[in-house]
């Protein structure tokens, strides 16, 4: 048994898991509140990355360069604002008119929105791959660990953990969180007690989009390249992670993503990377057979 290799793979798996988790958190939160699988989440992630690329391009052209975190923060803030606007508009155009339609309609609308955004970016930007600058600087204290976890990986891990905690606090202990939970339990009843349901749902989408944009900026600066199609694969993997952990459950999304990332990495490391996706989705099938609601999901009785 080669323990060093095992440890390297474990680190790789955790990092990969945290990448999936960062995208899955926004996915699962939107589902948790309005039971809509927002397929366009991956596209908001992609839009966030594109906005950050454009901002860094402008900053570089205007002569502003800084090896520290300021470019990253500036690009991320503007990407977040843009993505929030996209999320808000998306909900207003694609989902709100279908609020009372059968559940399949918003789902199809979500797929349509996803295809629209992907093609929109492809047309107004480019179908080519673009290089994405390394916005996260190399921290010196990470140097000895660079074989296992790089600086970007560390930032992604920390941001994922912080996001998970912040979301849980938001939903459990704040006023808007209470309103979200009420909306989730019974929309009509929530309205009756004076909750502005439309506003709550808009807020949900804005928060989800903000998370997607943060994920987009961090992950693009790790992979070093973006194009208009990156949202698709990211969305699928995040969706899988969310379902694995129990969709709608915030810690579940992180757990599901970790399980997915580690399973893929070990499968690729010990068997063959050609079957990476087979391990990922095979595991999904297995877990759904044994625990249909996901790892941390609660089995909810369907009201008939």
């Amino acid at each position: 048994m080669d323990f060093e290799y095992l440890f390297e793979l474990l680190c790789g798996g955790v990092v990969k898991g945290s990448i999936y988790a960062l995208i899955a958190l926004g996915y699962t939160m939107v589902y948790g509140i309005i039971q809509l699988i927002n397929f366009a989440h991956g596209e908001i992630y992609m839009v966030g990355a594109f906005v950050a690329l454009i901002i860094t391009g402008i900053l570089t052209l205007s002569g502003y360069s800084d090896s520290g975190l300021s470019v990253l923060v500036l690009a991320a803030v503007i990407a977040v604002i843009y993505a929030a606007a996209y999320g808000y508009t998306l909900e207003k155009i694609a989902y709100r008119p279908l609020r009372n339609a059968p559940r399949l309609s918003p789902l199809i609308s979500a797929i349509g929105a996803s295809i629209f955004l992907m093609n929109y970016v492809q047309l107004v930007q480019t179908p080519d791959f673009l290089p994405f600058p390394e916005l996260v600087p190399e921290f010196e204290f990470m140097e000895p660990l660079s074989r296992f976890v790089s600086s970007v990986d560390m930032v992604i891990l920390v941001v994922t953990a912080l996001t998970m905690v912040a979301l849980t606090v938001l939903i459990k202990y704040t006023k808007i969180g209470k309103a979200m939970r009420a909306t989730q339990q019974d929309m009509v009843m929530a309205r009756l007690v004076g909750i502005n349901v439309d506003r709550v749902i808009s807020a949900t989408f804005i928060i989800g989009s903000v998370l997607a944009a943060i994920a987009g900026v961090l992950i693009a600066s790790r992979t070093g390249q973006i194009n208009s199609a990156i949202g698709f694969m990211a969305g699928i993997k995040a969706f899988t992670a969310a379902v694995l952990g129990g969709i709608g459950n915030i810690p579940g999304a992180v757990l599901g993503a970790m399980v997915l990332g580690i399973a893929e990495t070990f499968g690729a490391g010990y068997i063959s990377s050609a079957y990476e996706d087979v391990f990922a989705f095979g595991l999904l099938v297995l877990i759904l057979i044994l625990r249909p609601a996901g790892l941390l999901g609660k089995a909810v009785k369907q009201k008939v």
């Binding site: 290799y5 990969k16 791959f129 992979t223 390249q225 199609a229 990377s273």
Partner: protein
């Protein structure tokens, strides 16, 4: 009654073709050009048509070959095998003497059977599928482009002979192109016996992270990594290898030898090897012809233009040397008579592949690909 009239007509028409075909053949040399001229893949076929037109116009202006003018016959197959057989049948029935084409490997294969039956030689500027020549099934087939496996064999030879690799890792993106390259490279290394293939795997194209496969590469202590695929995956692999400080020489196919790779991979590209078509711009005829094209059409010639120009020149040279369009004489002329073309001085080997065309190894130095001598 009607039937009889129709019968007469058919008989008359047949008689007419029988009489006219040999008469026409005596007047001109019929050169067919077949490939995709409409549809998605037209950009790969139209430059060949332009090239043939240029050569034919030039030769006819000089009085033709052995006193005969060259007549061009154009056939559009859209790269579809079913259309290619139609085009081939039509060209043969119209008495074609020699064909430049087809362009896509699949369409070429479909048409070759028909040409073979009619004893007509076809020279493709672009069909790179290895068995077309190497299987020996089509003795009437020649090409002015190197077959796919040459590239992989060159990469393998470079790894074992120049880089002195003992342990080679072979990765691919599971696509036709990438896996084909990887398979041929693996086979060449195993046959060569100088190095061991310690790892052979497909990676998920579009995935966000390749750390597992890179850790494995490190564990297997590979000296050289041969990658079959395109530039996005290649640059992701390289950037993650560099982050983990894993230094393994990287060799890719012509799918990464381009500006797209240099742009995305940035500083990670430095030192990377890639195989790619040999630089043909050094041949004097090449520059002259490309300038003439630019003057005539106002743009750069497209894909396979050089190869098609060379194929047409070689075909007509063979007609001249053979003193006619006899199948056996033409074959002998193609294999023995060296001719100056846009891809260098070429003649064909026994299998039908052009000698002297092929691939070279390039390395990224200071942000540009430079040929490794």
């Amino acid at each position: 009654m009607q039937k009889t009239t129709l019968g007469h007509l058919v008989a008359a028409a047949l008689a007419a073709t029988l009489i006219s075909a040999p008469a026409l053949a005596a007047d001109t040399i019929k050169l067919g050009v077949a490939g995709p001229h409409t549809g998605d893949l037209a950009p790969y076929g139209l430059p060949s048509k332009d090239a043939a037109e240029m050569v034919v116009a030039e030769i006819n202006a000089k009085g033709g070959i052995n006193g005969k003018k060259v007549e061009l016959m154009v056939g559009d197959d859209q790269c579809k095998p079913e259309l290619a057989t139609n085009v081939a049948t039509k060209l043969v029935s119209e008495g074609v003497n020699i064909v430049i084409g087809h362009v896509c490997s699949g369409a070429t294969k479909a048409a070759l059977g028909i040409y073979k039956g009619a004893k007509i030689i076809a020279i493709s500027p672009s069909a790179t599928n290895p068995p077309l020549t190497k299987a020996g099934e089509y003795p009437n087939f020649y090409r002015t482009i190197a077959p796919d496996d040459d590239q992989a064999m060159l990469a393998a030879a470079f790894a074992t002979d120049k880089l002195n690799a003992k342990k080679v890792a072979v990765l691919h993106d599971k696509g036709d192109y990438g896996k084909g390259f990887a398979d041929f490279a693996k086979e060449a290394i195993e046959k060569g016996g100088k190095a061991k293939v310690v790892m052979y795997e497909g990676i998920q194209p579009g995935a966000m992270d390749y750390s597992a496969v890179i850790q494995k590469l490190n564990k297997e202590k590979a000296d050289v990594l041969i990658f079959g695929g395109y530039h996005p995956e290649a640059s992701k692999l390289l950037s993650q290898m560099n982050k983990k400080k894993i230094k393994v020489a990287f060799i890719g196919p012509d799918g990464i030898k381009g500006d797209g790779f240099l742009k995305i991979a940035g500083k990670d590209a430095e030192g990377v090897y890639a195989t790619g078509p040999m630089d043909v711009s050094k041949y004097p005829l090449n520059g002259k012809v490309r300038d003439a094209y630019k003057a005539k059409y106002g743009k750069e010639p497209g894909t396979f233009f050089d190869q098609a120009y060379a194929a047409t020149v070689a075909a007509l040279n063979a007609v001249k040397v053979a003193g006619g369009t006899d199948y056996d004489a033409l074959g002998k002329a193609l294999k023995s008579s060296e001719v100056e073309t846009t891809v260098g001085k070429i003649k064909f080997n026994a299998k039908g592949d052009a000698e002297g065309v092929g691939f070279a190894v390039y390395q990224v130095k200071n942000g540009a690909f430079a040929e490794v001598k």
